[in-house]
C-alpha cells in the first residue's frame, strides 16, 4: 500500500491518492464521530472494544469512505471543514476547507465528488474530492440534512429539515429537478436496491415516507409506535435497507428503539430497545451486526441482526453521531 505522509500539501496528497491501489485490506476498525466531544472513537471490530479515541475537528458528524476505502471523510460543522483521514492508521491526510457547516454528505459513485449539505447556508455543494474545490451548488430549504446518490450518479436527493422538503437534484448541473413535500422534519434516506422507492425519515411526524422515484410522488408511509410510547416520543432519523432489499432498520430517536421493517409489506416486525436517542446506524459487511449510535447515552449498541438482540453496548465519546465500519 502506498504510504501517505501524515502532513502533506493538498496537491501532493491528490497525487498520492491517485497512486493508491484499488482496494486496501480492511483494518477491522470501526470509527465513530462524537459531535459534542469533537473526537473520533475507534473500536476493534473483532472484540468491539474501544482501542482509541482521538481529537478531530469541531462538531464532527457525517463520516464516509472514499471510493477505494483507503480514506474516510469527516464533516465538522463548527470548523467548516471536511477532514480526510487514512483508514488504516487514522492519520489526518488533509482538510477540505471553507465548507459552510457540513453536516452530512454522500460520495458520488465514481468517487470524484462529495455532495455536502450545508446546514447554515441552505445549500448543497458539489465538492471535487481531489482539488477540494466547490464546483456547483443548489439552493435548498433551511437545514439541509440527508444526502443520497442514485447508483448511476445522475441524481442526488437532499432533505431539508426545516422546509419539510425532499429536493431531487440533477447532479451534473446541480439543478433542482423537483421539490417534494414530506412529513415534518425529514432527515435521512434509503433507496430500495431496485431504486424504485426512496424512503425518507420524518423525525417529528414519527414516520418514514415512501416516495416513488419515477413520479416523485409520495406513495406510502410507515408510522412507528413502540409499545408504551406516544406519537410525539417517536423521532426517526437514520435508516438502512439491507442489500437484499428485504429489511429496513430505522433509528427511532427519543423512543430509544430501532424499528425493523419488512420492506415488501411495509410492516413493522420488531422494535429493539437500544440506548438513549439512537440516530446513526451502520451495518457490517455481511450484515450480521447493526451498530447504533445513541446520542444521549454516549454509547453504541451492537445488535445481532439474526436474533435482533443487543449483544453489547460500548461507551464512546459525547453525543455519538456517525459510524463507519472498515471490515
Amino acid at each position: 500500500m502506498t504510504r501517505i505522509p501524515p502532513r502533506c500539501a493538498l496537491m501532493y496528497c491528490a497525487l498520492a491518492i491517485a497512486a493508491v491501489p484499488a482496494r486496501a485490506e480492511p483494518s477491522g476498525r470501526i470509527y465513530i464521530t462524537n459531535e459534542k466531544s469533537s473526537t473520533i472513537t475507534v473500536l476493534d471490530g473483532r472484540t468491539n472494544a474501544v482501542v482509541d479515541e482521538f481529537e478531530t475537528c469541531a462538531r464532527p458528524r457525517g463520516i464516509h469512505f472514499n471510493i477505494d476505502r483507503t480514506q474516510f471523510f469527516v464533516g465538522c460543522a463548527d470548523d467548516n471543514v471536511i477532514a480526510v483521514y487514512e483508514v488504516a492508521t487514522a492519520s489526518l491526510v488533509h482538510r477540505i476547507r471553507k465548507m459552510e457547516e457540513p453536516e452530512t454528505f454522500d460520495l458520488s459513485p465514481d468517487g470524484r465528488y462529495l455532495v455536502v449539505s450545508n446546514e447554515e447556508d441552505a445549500a448543497a455543494t458539489k465538492v471535487n474530492v481531489e482539488t477540494g474545490r466547490i464546483e456547483g451548488e443548489a439552493e435548498l430549504g433551511e437545514e439541509p440534512e440527508g444526502v443520497l446518490f442514485t447508483r448511476d450518479g445522475s441524481t442526488v436527493y437532499v432533505a431539508s429539515e426545516a422546509a419539510n422538503l425532499v429536493h431531487v437534484i440533477n447532479f451534473a448541473d446541480m439543478a433542482v429537478r423537483a421539490d417534494i413535500f414530506v412529513g415534518t422534519r425529514p432527515r435521512r434516506f434509503a433507496l430500495t436496491p431496485d431504486e424504485k422507492e426512496l424512503w425518507v425519515s420524518a423525525e417529528l411526524a414519527g414516520e418514514v415516507d415512501i416516495i416513488d422515484t419515477a413520479t416523485n410522488k409520495l406513495i406510502g408511509d410507515i408510522l412507528f409506535l413502540p409499545p408504551g410510547f406516544r406519537r410525539e416520543q417517536v423521532t426517526p432519523v437514520d435508516l438502512l435497507i439491507t442489500r437484499d432489499g428485504k429489511t429496513a432498520y430505522v433509528a427511532l430517536g427519543r423512543a430509544n428503539h430501532v424499528g425493523v421493517v419488512d420492506v415488501a409489506s411495509r410492516k413493522i416486525v420488531e422494535y429493539i430497545l437500544v440506548g438513549k436517542r439512537p440516530w446513526g446506524l451502520a451495518l457490517n459487511r455481511d450484515e450480521s451486526l447493526l451498530y447504533v449510535a445513541n446520542g444521549l447515552s454516549d454509547d453504541v449498541s451492537i445488535i445481532e441482526t439474526k436474533s435482533r438482540k443487543v449483544l453489547k453496548s460500548v461507551p464512546v465519546g459525547l453525543v455519538p453521531y456517525g459510524i463507519l465500519i472498515d471490515d
Binding site: 446546514e119 447554515e120 441552505a122 439552493e139 435548498l140 430549504g141 433551511e142 437545514e143 431539508s160 429539515e161 426545516a162 422546509a163 419539510n164 422538503l165 421539490d179 413535500f181 415534518t184 422534519r185 417529528l204 411526524a205 406516544r230 406519537r231 410525539e232 423521532t235 427519543r254
Partner: protein, 393 residues
C-alpha cells in the same frame, strides 16, 4: 453560429425561471405593533447600567420569512411580510383593515399587551382575520378573556409557572419561599406560580413582599437575609419583573438556597443556549440576521410565521378559511424546535409547546419533565387544561 447557439441556450435556461417567477402568486402576512410600547423602553439603573433591553421581535418574523423562501418556491408563492406601526392601541384595528384592503392580508402577528390585543380582537371579530399573539403571556387572554380570532404562540404565564413547578417537584424542593415585588406584574408572576405550586403539590411556606429601599425602618422588607431567614424552605421563588432588587437575591440568602423565577433558573419559551432539536441552527440563523440573541418573543414571531407557512404547505391553499381550519385543527404537527410537535389547544387557542428552564448560560431542563403524565398529550401538563378552562368562544 456558435455564439448564437450559446445565446439560445442561455435564453432557454432563463425561460423557465422567468416563467416560474411570473406564475408565483403573492401571499402576505401582516405584522402590527404600537409606537412607544413601554415594554421596549430599556429599564435603566441610575449608574447607567441597562438592566433590560428588549428589542422588538420583528426580526424573528423576518428570519422565518427568509428561511421559507425555498418552501415558497416549491409552493409557487411569493411570501411577504408587511409591518405597520399604530400610533396608539386604538388605531391598531384601522391599521389591520388598511393592510387587509390593500393587500388582502388576513393573518397578522400582533406585538401588543393584553388590553390592546383584546380591543383589536373585538374590533376585528367579524372581519375574518386571525391574530397571532407573540409577546403577551397574561393568563386572562387564555381564560375568560379568550377570543376565537386570537391565537397565542407565546406560552402563557400558567405554562411558565407549571414548568417551574414541575422542575421543583421533581428535584423534591417542595417548600418554597416566595419573594414578591410591588408592581402589578410581580403579583401576576407570584399568583401564576401559586397556582402551579398547588397543581404540582409544592408548599409555599410564605409569600413576602419586598421593597426596593435602603430605609433601616423597612429592613424586614428590603434586606434579603432577613427576608429569607424564616420559615424554613428549600428554594426561593422570586417575582420581580423590574429586576433591580432581584439581581441581588442570589448568594445573599440567609440559608444556602437556590433562587428561581425572575433570577437564577428561569422558565421561558426560548433561550440562546438551547442546543437540541435543531435549536443551534435556528439560533445561528437568527443571530446572523438580527445581530443579537433570540429571545421569547423573537421565537414566537418566528414560530407564528412558520405556522402560517406550514398551513400553506399542508392545505395547498391560500384561502383564509382553509388556513384557519388547518391551524385550529388536530392535524397540525408543528416543529417548534423544542422536540414535541406543537399544535393549538382547541379550548383556548394556546399553542401547546415545551417550556425551557434556563440559567444565564444554559438550559437546565425542558418541561414537561419526565414522569409528569397526561391522558392525551403530556404538553397539556403545562398551562390551562381543558377541564379547568373558563374560555368560551
Amino acid at each position: 453560429m456558435r455564439a448564437a447557439a450559446i445565446l439560445l441556450l442561455a435564453l432557454l435556461l432563463l425561460l423557465p425561471a422567468a416563467a416560474g417567477a411570473a406564475e408565483r402568486a403573492p401571499f402576505a402576512i401582516g405584522y402590527l405593533e404600537i409606537a412607544g410600547d413601554p415594554r421596549y423602553v430599556p429599564v435603566r439603573n441610575y449608574t447607567g447600567l441597562k438592566l433590560k433591553t428588549v428589542k422588538r421581535p420583528f426580526s424573528g418574523a423576518e428570519a422565518a420569512l427568509r428561511e421559507s423562501r425555498v418552501v415558497a418556491r416549491a409552493l409557487g408563492l411569493t411570501l411577504g411580510l408587511e409591518r405597520a406601526e399604530a400610533a396608539t392601541p386604538a388605531t391598531l384595528a384601522a391599521a389591520a383593515r388598511t393592510m387587509r384592503d390593500a393587500a388582502g392580508i388576513r393573518v397578522f402577528l400582533v406585538d401588543a399587551d393584553a388590553d390592546a390585543l383584546l380591543a383589536l380582537a373585538d374590533a376585528l371579530r367579524d372581519d375574518r382575520v386571525l391574530l397571532f399573539n407573540i409577546s403577551e403571556t397574561a393568563d386572562r387572554l387564555r381564560r375568560a378573556d379568550c377570543r376565537a380570532n386570537l391565537m397565542h404562540v407565546i406560552p402563557s404565564q400558567a405554562m411558565l409557572g407549571d414548568a417551574m413547578a414541575q422542575y421543583l417537584a421533581l428535584a423534591n424542593w417542595r417548600r418554597v419561599l416566595v419573594l414578591r415585588g410591588e408592581l402589578p406584574a410581580d403579583a401576576v408572576l407570584a399568583d401564576a406560580f401559586a397556582r402551579s405550586a398547588r397543581k404540582f403539590g409544592l408548599k409555599i411556606v410564605a409569600t413576602k413582599d419586598f421593597v426596593l429601599s435602603n430605609d433601616p425602618r423597612e429592613r424586614g422588607r428590603n434586606n434579603v437575609r432577613l427576608l429569607t431567614a424564616e420559615p424554613a424552605h428549600d428554594v426561593v421563588f422570586l417575582a420581580d419583573s423590574h429586576g433591580e432588587f432581584g439581581r441581588y437575591v442570589p448568594y445573599q440568602t440567609h440559608r444556602p438556597r437556590p433562587v428561581v423565577g425572575s433570577e437564577g433558573l428561569v422558565a421561558a419559551a426560548w433561550h440562546w443556549a438551547w442546543e437540541r432539536h435543531g435549536a443551534p441552527q435556528l439560533n445561528q440563523r437568527f443571530e446572523k440576521q438580527a445581530g443579537r440573541e433570540m429571545r421569547d418573543a423573537d421565537w414566537a414571531a418566528w414560530a407564528a410565521v412558520r405556522l402560517i407557512v406550514e398551513a400553506l404547505i399542508r392545505t395547498g391553499s391560500t384561502e383564509f378559511d382553509a388556513l384557519a381550519a388547518y391551524l385550529k385543527g388536530d392535524a397540525l404537527t408543528f416543529d417548534a424546535y423544542k422536540g414535541n410537535p406543537a399544535s393549538f389547544r382547541p379550548w383556548n387557542n394556546q399553542l401547546r409547546q415545551p417550556v425551557l428552564l434556563h440559567t444565564h448560560n444554559a438550559v437546565a431542563a425542558r418541561a414537561p419533565l419526565d414522569g409528569f403524565l397526561h391522558r392525551t398529550d403530556i404538553l397539556d401538563t403545562l398551562g390551562i387544561d381543558e377541564p379547568e378552562s373558563s374560555c368560551r368562544f
